[in-house]
């Protein structure tokens, strides 16, 4: 098995599925000869041709709406949005059509498509290039929102996303694109959507997180283990529809919950997780639920970005506070 970065694994998943399924097409800005600004689609146009890998004009709403039309015609578009901060013009298409087409036609027309986009900050990018906007998408029934946290999970989840009969918004943590190399088997095996992944087992407290924050959460868990605190780390993986059963099972086992996410706190996915745990497992809790999140501020320009993004210290402190209750 080859060791590779997440962005290479994403590229490999595209190639596997395009070779397997002739209905898979790739579209977006600069996805052709340039291979995408992060090189996620590099080589695909050369290998699969200009019909199946198409650069589009610079219009995110158009990319999303075109993907809806392609998918309803039976193709499987994988569309790239260059950065998640540019998703806003596409929201009308995502919310008004992509999420609703199956429902509003009673299943007659469907949207089997993937919209991929870099998610989050931490790479010294310019303004509007570091946003974490998953909550905007999770609020819409009919969508699936997926956020991988390693090269292997990116490969397996992207395959599952392309094969899914319903639309998937695929959020790729920029910080992890080239963060670490991992052995990834190019075997075409998809990972399940709608399931959490247990990244570390533990007995005292559950850390629920996703995307790039899994790295910090695992580091925090390692540090806390030295203090005798045993953290279970769950990678949510699919943020909508979310696997609450796995979260509840873990919290019932450990009795404590800290949710960690990079996005702002207000109306974030962490709020939904906390509320659901409070509804279903309040009496199993030994301490109040805590959230470690980005602040309810504008994502700062990059000199302050690591002050915005929660780090290991904030996670460790939240766990310690929960353990002290």
């Amino acid at each position: 098995m080859a060791k590779m970065t997440m962005v290479e694994a994403i590229n490999m998943a595209h190639a596997w599925e395009m070779a397997r399924d002739p209905s898979v097409v790739v579209l977006g800005e600069d996805v052709g000869i340039n291979g995408g600004v992060f090189r996620a689609t590099v080589g695909l146009q050369q290998r699969f041709g200009k019909q199946r890998v198409q650069d589009t004009p610079l219009a995110e709403g158009l990319i999303a709406g075109t993907a809806v039309g392609l998918a309803a015609q039976g193709l499987r578009p994988v569309a790239e949005i260059q950065f998640m901060g540019f998703i806003y013009p596409a929201l009308d298409q995502i919310a008004s059509h992509m999420a609703r087409l199956r429902n509003r036609t009673r299943g007659r027309l469907t949207c089997p498509l993937v919209m991929r986009m870099p998610h989050g900050g931490g790479i010294h990018a310019p303004e509007h290039h570091s946003e974490s906007l998953e909550a905007l998408l999770c609020h819409h029934p009919g969508l699936q929102v997926v956020c991988p946290s390693s090269p292997a999970r990116a490969y397996g989840l992207l395959l599952a996303a392309i094969r899914s009969p319903d639309p998937v918004l695929f959020l790729e943590p920029v910080r992890l694109y080239r963060f670490a190399r991992q052995e990834v088997a190019d075997d075409g095996q998809a990972l399940p959507l709608g399931r959490c992944f247990v990244l570390r087992e533990g007995s005292d407290l559950t850390l629920v997180t996703w995307g790039a924050m899994t790295v910090d959460s695992l580091k925090a868990a390692e540090q806390l283990a030295a203090e005798g605190v045993s953290c279970e780390v769950l990678d949510v993986g699919t943020l909508s529809p979310i696997d609450f059963d796995a979260i509840l099972d873990s919290v019932v086992k450990t009795g404590r919950l800290v949710v960690v996410h990079e996005a702002a706190r207000n109306c974030g996915v962490g709020a939904e997780i906390a509320a659901t745990v409070a509804e279903h497992a309040l009496y199993d809790l030994l301490a109040p639920i805590r959230r470690v999140t980005g602040y309810d501020t504008i994502m700062p320009l990059y000199r302050l970005e690591h002050d915005y993004i929660p780090g290991v210290a904030r996670i460790v402190d939240a766990v310690r506070a929960a353990m002290a209750e």
Binding site: V25, Q51, R52, Q54, T56, P57, A59, G61, L62, A64, G65, T66, A67, V68, G69, L70, A71, A72, Q73, G74, L75, P77, P89, D92, Q93, S96, H97, R102, N103, R104, T105, R106, G107, R108, L109, T110, P141, G142, Q144, S164, P165, D166, G194, P241, I242, D243, F244, D245
Partner: protein, 369 residues
């Protein structure tokens, strides 16, 4: 490229010009303006188009009446648009795909959508989008302009697969102010997509007249910036609508790329049954528009050619009335969907997290029709 900057001829010269042609076959009274297109020899086609226009108008009147008596939700009348709608339907092939706004029942009826479908949709029931006889057509599109991108996507799919099919998208005069309109025709131009866009310019976007919508002399010329051929036609003349759309579809089907057609018509009705157009436009203006409405002129044309008479008219009216009555009875006796219907079509499979909500909805299901 950028010849305008480095031309040795002169510092300032014209680098682009355009003109927009206007076409019509019939005058306001239904008399031929000049030589007619060949297809007018097909009397049966002309009668079919006329019959469909009458059918759409009769259904439309009934739908407004049902809304007024509390039996239908808000309904957008198509009164006055029948030629623009039916001419497009007649020019399309069954394998083409239709993308509408929400008023184009004449096109939908032509393509086999049932009266019951339309009643169910405006009567608050998603089953009105099932379109059994035209399964690839999109349902009505309420967010203005957004259907343009779907049509471009469908046209791109046809092009990728090398299929001799076309996407046809309607949009209104107000819709041409939306970014989605420009974005889609821009894509269609750059990729030479098999897409035909029909702008139904009915002069009013609710209360905003087209003169307040755009300073452009025509809406058709918006296509010029996308590098797309465009023309303007008399949208109350079903012959020219049919002719222009058929030509554009034939060109698109053979790889010749997209066309934008602006059909000039007039919204004789309120915007919807929730609107009162007397608040913003004069009775004189509406009366003047009524004098050039599409159905009477087509009837005059058919009668003059010996293709139509009073007996045919009477039989048609009776037939429409019976068909509409049957559809209305079916609609009124269709029980509402169960609450499960809210959940069952969200995804191919209901996510486990939604099972409890589906149960809750069942327990609290509202009584009634």
């Amino acid at each position: 490229m950028f010849k305008c900057y480095d031309s040795p001829m002169s510092q300032h010269h014209v680098v682009a010009r355009f003109e927009i042609a206007y076409r019509a076959c019939l005058d306001d009274d239904g008399k031929p303006i000049g030589a007619l297109p060949e297809f007018v020899e097909d009397g049966e086609l002309l009668r079919r188009m006329y019959r469909m226009m009458v059918r759409a108008r009769a259904f439309d009147a009934k739908a407004v009446n049902l809304q007024r008596t509390g039996k239908l939700g808000t309904y957008p009348s198509c009164l006055g648009h029948e030629a623009a709608h039916v001419g497009v339907g007649a020019a399309m092939r069954p394998e083409d795909v239709l993308f509408t706004v929400y008023r184009e029942i004449g096109t939908k009826f032509w393509r086999g959508v049932g009266l019951l479908d339309i009643l169910l949709y405006w009567g608050g029931d998603e089953r009105g989008t099932l379109y059994e006889r035209t399964p690839q057509d999109f349902p009505f599109c309420v967010p203005i302009g957004s259907q343009m991108a779907h049509a471009a996507g469908a046209a791109l799919a046809m092009q990728i697969r090398g299929e001799p099919r076309c996407a046809l998208a309607f949009i209104g005069d107000g819709g041409t102010s939306q970014g989605a309109f420009y974005e889609a025709i821009n894509l269609a131009g750059v990729k030479a997509l098999p897409l035909v866009c029909v702008i139904v310019n009915n002069r009013w976007a609710i209360s905003v007249p087209v003169t307040a919508q755009s300073a452009a002399q025509t809406l058709a010329q918006k296509a010029v910036a996308a590098g797309i051929p465009a023309l303007q036609v008399d949208g109350n003349d079903v012959l020219v609508v049919y002719e222009a759309v058929a030509e554009a579809l034939a060109r698109a089907r053979s790889g010749g790329g997209p066309t934008v057609i602006e059909a000039l018509t007039y919204r004789l009705s309120d915007h919807t049954t929730s609107d009162d157009a007397t608040r913003y436009r004069s009775a004189q203006e509406v009366e003047a528009a009524r004098r050039v409405e599409p159905i009477a002129r087509m009837r005059n044309f058919l009668s003059a050619r010996g293709l139509w008479d009073g007996a045919a008219e009477e039989a048609l009216r009776r037939e429409c009335s019976d068909e509409i009555e049957t559809a209305v009875q079916q609609y009124l006796s269709t029980p509402k969907q169960s609450t499960d219907a809210m959940f069952d079509y969200l995804y191919a499979q209901l996510p486990p997290t939604l099972r409890a909500q589906r149960e809750e909805a069942r327990r609290y299901a509202a009584p009634g029709h």
